[in-house]
């Protein structure tokens, strides 16, 4: 029963992933990506990884994709990108996809999936203990990297805004 549900959701996730790549309109791509993220969240839930599923829902589908969609609907990027798509973009895309696929295959062949057995129902405490105990340094490190990215964005955006205020050309 669970396995069947997993298969259906996995196929949906795959289909929506293709939808992201092959949609003509940016808004449809963004919606397919949302659908894909939701499918992955459901997969997590089916594997009893409750916290991960909820975090996926909350962070990616609920916050990040909303900002994506926001930008796509307001800026209408297809108007800007019109006529700019050429073979070099496609080649780059295929190269990146191949690289990612190779990485995934290497990781997949080395990882032992036995560790991923379904945890107990109330796994939240265990998860929190691991996150803030065993993995506290990687966790804080990731937080630090995100903070650096945040400051970078503020700095870059701020400079561009200041130039626009002066009426001068943007530096980038």
């Amino acid at each position: 029963m669970i396995t069947a549900a997993k298969c259906v959701v996995a196929v949906l996730a795959l289909a929506s992933a293709f939808g992201v790549a092959f949609s003509r309109q940016a808004v449809h791509s963004a919606l397919f990506l949302t659908c894909n993220l939701l499918c992955v969240a459901v997969l997590y839930l089916l594997m009893s990884l409750h916290f991960l599923g909820a975090a996926q829902l909350l962070v990616y589908a609920g916050a990040i994709m909303v900002v994506f969609l926001f930008a796509v609907t307001v800026l209408a990027p297809e108007d800007e990108m019109l006529g700019k798509w050429n073979d070099s973009y496609k080649l780059t895309g295929i190269a990146v996809a191949a690289l990612l696929g190779a990485c995934l295959m290497v990781v997949n062949s080395r990882a032992s999936l036995a560790d991923l057995a379904a945890p107990e129902q109330g796994s939240l405490k265990q998860f929190a203990t691991d996150l803030f105990g065993k993995f506290v340094f990687p966790f804080e490190g990731t937080a630090f990297v995100l903070l650096v990215a945040l400051i970078g964005v503020v700095l870059l955006g701020h400079r561009r805004l200041r130039d626009l205020d002066r009426g001068g050309p943007s530096r980038d």
């Binding site: 029963m1 808004v27 919606l31 949302t34 409750h50 916290f51 599923g53 909820a54 975090a55 829902l57 909350l58 589908a61 609920g62 916050a63 909303v66 900002v67 969609l69 926001f70 609907t73 307001v74 129902q121 109330g122 796994s123 939240l124």
Partner: protein, 384 residues
């Protein structure tokens, strides 16, 4: 599939249908109640012609909306235009699945009936995650309408919802930290079973008044209600994201808004007001005492109190300006929530009793008010 699993499945479906019907009926009569109450507050009468005291007004409205012509702008994106109100409504209804309307399972005809659809260990996260999806309906509706006012309303709404979600989450963390669980059932049980003076129980609004204030403010902003209803500011934007919607599609947006109001009221009730808890009596002394101690009627009473507050706020406060809205969210609610969280974390680490939390939060408030008064700039005389 075993028989037991099938029974569980059927039970969940029946409960989900019952909850949905209850919420939608509640929505219909909230529109009536809102019109009557706002009318009373504005020295008017309100709808009183259809049926006794106008009680059949929602039915008349529903029939009107069902048979109304479905208008759609020529340049609108049809698929997304139809999908958007459905997303709003489905998301709003499914958020309600994790809210318990009573404390313990009820034994009825030999069956143990649980008064909640589902009780996952991550209930709060599920609710926040699902309700954060509601903004998709608004963005897509505004964009697919191909109308600049609708799009402006959608943009305002998404910016507002994203900003206030942070304050909302921060406000909820403090009481949940005291409980030490993300399950609504644990939250209710701790409030009802433990003592306020000698333990870590009691209604959490007593121990966390600042968190309650923050939660309620952010929640009003989250559901786009007055005084935070900039996404549908009539004077500026027509009706915001649902300008182009008519008939049943408009009604779905309308339903979603009211169901969201019910959801945030229910969360406020569950987390801060002891959920289905009533008077502090011994429930083992008979049915009457059991009903006095806790039950769905207490839960409904508190939820409808919060719904009344929604209407009251709408009739009382003028709308905020957009820069005021953003400043309140980012420069007032969020920092206050973080300070409150810090105080709560210290208290949890030192295993304070509930009343000690109240004292600590009160002294935090006094300190902050004193600091802000010291920090105030002297008034500048006007030079025009």
């Amino acid at each position: 599939m075993t028989l037991e699993a099938l029974g569980f499945f059927v039970g969940v479906v029946i409960k989900a249908v019952l909850f949905s019907v209850a919420l939608l009926t509640g929505f219909a009569y909230m529109t009536y109640g809102e019109r009557r109450i706002v009318a009373r507050m504005q020295w008017r009468v309100g709808p009183n012609k259809v049926g006794p005291w106008g009680l059949l007004q929602p039915a008349a409205d529903g029939i009107k909306l069902l048979f109304k012509e479905q208008l759609q702008p020529k340049e609108a994106k049809t698929f997304l235009f139809v999908l958007a109100p459905m997303i709003s409504l489905v998301v709003a209804l499914s958020a309600y699945a994790v809210i318990p309307i009573d404390k313990d399972p009820v034994n009825l005809f030999g069956y143990s009936i649980e008064p909640w659809v589902s009780n996952p260990s991550i209930a709060v996260l599920y609710l926040l995650g699902i309700s954060s999806l509601g903004v998709y309906g608004i963005i897509l509706g505004g964009w697919a309408s191909n109308n600049k006012y609708a799009l402006l309303g959608a943009i305002r709404s998404s910016a507002q919802v994203i900003s206030y979600e942070l304050a909302l989450g921060t406000a909820l963390v403090s009481p949940l930290l005291m409980v030490g669980s993300l399950s609504f059932r644990d939250v209710v049980n701790q409030q009802l079973d433990h003592s306020y003076l000698t333990g870590d129980g009691g209604w959490l609004i007593l121990a966390q008044p600042v968190a309650f204030f923050l939660y309620w403010t952010a929640a009003v902003a989250e559901v786009n209600r007055a005084p935070f209803d900039l996404p549908e500011a009539e004077q500026e934007l027509g009706a915001g994201y649902h300008t182009e919607y008519s008939g049943m599609k408009f009604a779905m947006f309308f339903m979603a808004e009211y169901v969201n109001m019910f959801t945030v009221s229910s969360v406020a009730t569950t987390v801060f007001l002891g959920g289905p808890g009533g008077l502090p009596v011994d429930e083992s002394q008979g049915l009457l005492f059991r009903l006095l101690a806790h039950g769905p009627h207490w839960f409904l009473l508190k939820v409808y109190f919060f719904m009344f507050v929604f209407i009251w706020l709408r009739a009382t406060f003028p709308r905020f300006r957009y820069d005021q809205l953003m400043r309140i969210g980012w420069q007032f609610l969020l920092p206050l929530g973080l300070i409150n969280l810090g105080v709560t974390a210290v208290g949890v680490a030192m295993q304070w009793k509930s009343y000690q939390f109240t004292l600590a939060v009160a002294s935090m408030l006094v300190t902050l008010i004193a600091l802000s008064m010291l920090n105030r700039k002297p008034e500048q005389p006007d030079h025009h």
